[in-house]
Symmetry: C2
Subunit: 342 residues, 2 copies
């Protein structure tokens, strides 16, 4: 098996904390670390409630969180809600722990690098002690967008998403499965109890993700706009987004319509997308599709075509596993590019 | 019950043919006509194979199609594949039958009116003998778009769709239901036998509808571009589209990002959308949603918000029952606005 992130013998010596290990992203992080050969003894998992995680043949104890045990680690991944990360990250950094935060708390802090390694991994050369991991939909859209930015310069980007239930974590996935089980049994699949969604997701589309502000923008849309600009280092870039939840278990999809600064030459673009790190160019005209991309490391891009707004217009459809490249894998790729010195 | 189309005592005297009555749209047409009080004896249903349709308490015989029986009618609705409509429509018109064709065969013929009554119903004043009914996604997007065109003038429209299984007719719906029954029983929901889709639709998104041409545009995307321009009478309008199939039973949704010619004043726009015929303005920030709109006559529009491309940019999300407003209902609204003279 080839790893999708760099993990040297020096990385294997690191004492690593996964805070919020009970969630979908925390679990994925632990799985990927174990698959990379990281010793369970060098993994410290904490969460609000103690439990144990079973991953393949390994069992990992999860402790009720306290800062002390995490402060003894070299590197901590925070898979915690924003409110927790905002307080915890600086406390841990002050105690000498390097922190990669997967929440949205610190992403837009101008002093904190927000990194997709294939796009702006050079920011890691300064060996920052605190790094923010991007929003899942942003990370997925950015892999093809950064190739286009490099070749032709982006002028305007419109991102419309089709986001999976597990983007809301395990409760989202459970709600969809409960509703579909009811549909399968001949029921109407009414909204599951404890669903994190505003309505039933089975056989439905919910056209906003997170709260919608007074101007009508959803939280997810604001994140996409802000993060694309920051990660591409294009504060001037025009970005619009529409985000919707669809009854898919895993993998977010985006339909993107964009304008470039310079004229697009499609054969060159295909070649560049094909060669790009972390990206797969799909030639099936009815792909890529989220079911086929679940559990895959790279982002898949297809339906690349000229637009109707002149030779600088372009559209594509991209799909990525939002728990992998959209979260856990990206965080590990960040860690793998940092010097593993404690 | 208030009818969503005009059906006078003179209309009730018409002998009406529904050709292709076995499909989802043909069935919906017959149901709506019976609900309007049209006598079953004045309905002639034909299809490739004879059968009988049960609608509520009525049973309608469906004859194996022959032109003779349809030629004795005053008005024929063609719910037939394009290849059939292209030949049949002119034959029937030549024999004195007024024809409303629901296929894509004749829509772009410059001599044939393509009509969404709320948008360009004035074309019916000339009492045309052959009228084309638009693509379902086009019709749904056009209701809010035409309000914006009237108020501010459209400059550029990008339509991204989330289309229901039943857009591919009864076989599409059956395929999705079979796949979901398998998921509900613990299976993986592999692609149903006889599915009209390129892949399993359950728990998936299929990012192209119909064939994709050499330039990478799907058939559905080409229809949306062409039909928006024709129905809005704006051959110059810049339109781009991305179309995808989602695991929804009924109702197509569209996320639209657009630019207008004149500055948008949101309160005025809300008022105009609220007042527009055939349109419901939804204030739920997580709506409208296809499940809640199934079987409804009007198109629902929500998430109306300013864009990030200056004071002429706007986005919205609209949902409509593609078998009603997207097909059968629109065709009946056309018929209801025509003089019912035989």
């Amino acid at each position: 098996m080839t790893l999708a992130f760099r993990w040297t013998s020096a990385h294997l010596q690191l004492r690593i904390a996964v805070v919020g290990a009970n969630g979908a992203t925390g679990l994925e992080l632990c799985s990927l670390l174990l698959a990379a050969g990281h010793a369970p003894e060098r993994l410290v998992c904490t969460a609000r409630a103690a439990r144990s995680l079973t991953i393949g043949h390994s069992t990992l104890p999860v402790q009720a969180h306290n800062d002390e045990v995490v402060a003894q680690c070299d590197l901590a991944f925070l898979c915690t809600p924003s409110g927790v990360s905002r307080e915890l990250a600086p406390r841990l950094v002050a105690r000498g722990v390097r922190v990669i935060d997967l929440s949205s708390a610190l992403r837009m802090d101008p002093h904190i690098p927000l990194v997709v390694p294939e796009v702006n991994g050079d920011l890691l050369e300064a060996q920052p002690r605190l790094i923010a991991n991007p929003n899942c939909t942003s990370a997925i859209a950015l892999l093809p967008l950064s190739v286009i930015e490099r070749l032709y310069g982006l002028a305007e980007v419109i991102v419309v998403s089709y986001q999976a239930a597990s983007g809301a974590g395990a409760p989202g996935l459970q709600a969809l499965r409960a509703e579909l089980a009811d549909v399968g049994a001949g029921g109407r699949g009414e909204r599951a109890q404890d669903s994190p969604f505003a309505a039933a997701l089975a056989l439905n589309v919910i056209p906003a993700i997170a709260e919608v502000d007074a101007q009508g923008h959803s939280g997810e849309e604001l994140k996409i706009v802000d993060e694309l600009r920051k990660i591409l280092r294009r504060p001037d870039l025009i970005v619009e987004a529409s985000t919707a939840r669809v009854p898919v278990e895993r993998c977010h999809s985006v339909a993107v319509h964009l304008l470039t600064q310079r004229e697009v030459h499609l054969p060159d673009l295909y070649a560049a997308l094909d060669a790009a790190e972390g990206l797969v160019l799909v030639r099936d005209p009815h792909g890529p599709r989220p079911r086929e991309c679940a559990g895959a490391d790279p982002v898949s891009v297809g339906r690349v075509r000229a637009g109707n707004r002149g030779p600088r217009s372009l559209s594509f459809f991209a799909v990525g596993d939002q728990i992998r490249k959209g979260a856990a894998l990206n965080a590990l790729q960040i860690a793998g590019r940092l010097e593993p010195a404690p």
